[in-house]
Subunit: 131 residues, 4 copies
């Protein structure tokens, strides 16, 4: 499991006075950064990358400006060419939002899914543990 | 059904050269604007509003800069205090992305869900039709 | 001069209850879209594009959700390889924000500025008029 | 002076393959967070806050995904009710972008500028030093 600390920014709020739902989408991306880096360490995009095919976010409770958010990120399934990531955002000890994305290893030239090699698979597994 | 035309902006793209998944989230919000206006016509937020409790987006095909996107928006279920919205984004006649959100009518003071009145319900039904 | 109509979105607001300063930055980009299209009609980015070298925004008055914003865009200076764009955002007849950007015609391979051809210059001049 | 470390996110990039100019705007806001906190420690917005009246950004060199960005933030002038902040974004030791914002202490009820008290002024001065 990965744990990332987020400091909510003023622009993350909306007129309801709390954190806008789109900020959660951005914070979950921040939480997945070490996973992207397995595929493109330095982000010099060459011929293959990860494409998002599905995203789900549940908003259980509102988050507010003024206190840190902890994003927990875990890979829950690894398929032939895609994998699943589950994430949770905690503020003051309370899980306020949970997310789930499916990412596909994708060839930018052929525009087709390509297998996740054993080496990449091994690296992904480091983020599969529950602790 | 609602239909909204979107012009992709350069900042909607990412280093893969296509439209970033977060742009779709913003465009779907643009498509829902007439629905929000049923609840708060002039957005002078008083004591109640809509809170998002769930968002799902499926990314079926990539979208690109340079040609218009049409977002189709339809209310598919109306419950006691919440309702469901289904959306699709088309580019050059192809459905590239589909979305689903659940919105709750929400009292900002008590921080509780409140019933959707018959009058509001009637207005929402205008967006329930498939054409 | 170009004129673009913007519908403020809920996510454009912030916890002060009005439009966040970053939304203005996005809206001004929307207003410049026809200018970008002179350089890359279909945005299939090849070897040259426009790079921003300077942006200024003045926030004279707050904008709010619930009423349309009109963005006026005008090219004010055309140099050898760069040009200046001035923009204003009006809400309910009042100029709430004004912007100024400098864009450079830029070769993506050599990473150097390149001259604006006479043909491009002619097209840019269409947006130089004050009406 | 304040120093903040930023990890560029994939969504911060654009189709030119580098960091989009809007990401710099967000990162500079991140760099100013400790300044906002002087005025509203916990962001429970009451009756007064900071309004942006001017923003300038110069883009001297491109930034890329894959390596950390350091944002340096310094208060350069403190007036009766407003102050100036200058910022720089460094990547791999090179200053790629510099910014300047003017923020006004602002009463949300009267919608007028209000003086910066001596106590606030003292706190702001902590960020005026060049080291």
């Amino acid at each position: 499991m990965l744990e990332t600390t987020i400091l909510p920014q003023f622009s993350d709020s909306d007129a309801l006075g709390h954190i806008n739902y789109q900020a959660t989408v951005r914070w979950f991306e921040t939480g997945r950064l070490p996973i992207y880096r397995i595929f493109v360490g330095d982000f010099e995009i060459a011929d293959r990358f990860l494409a998002m095919v599905r995203m789900e976010v549940d908003y259980a409770g509102e988050m507010r400006l003024g206190s840190e958010v902890t994003v927990r990120t875990r890979i829950t399934e690894i398929g032939r060419s895609s994998f699943h990531v589950r994430q949770e955002a905690f503020q003051q000890g309370r899980c306020c939002s949970s997310g789930h994305v499916v990412l596909v290893h994708y060839d930018l030239t052929t525009r087709k899914a390509i297998p996740i090699t054993d080496e990449l698979r091994e690296s992904l597994r480091r983020f599969s543990k529950t602790d």
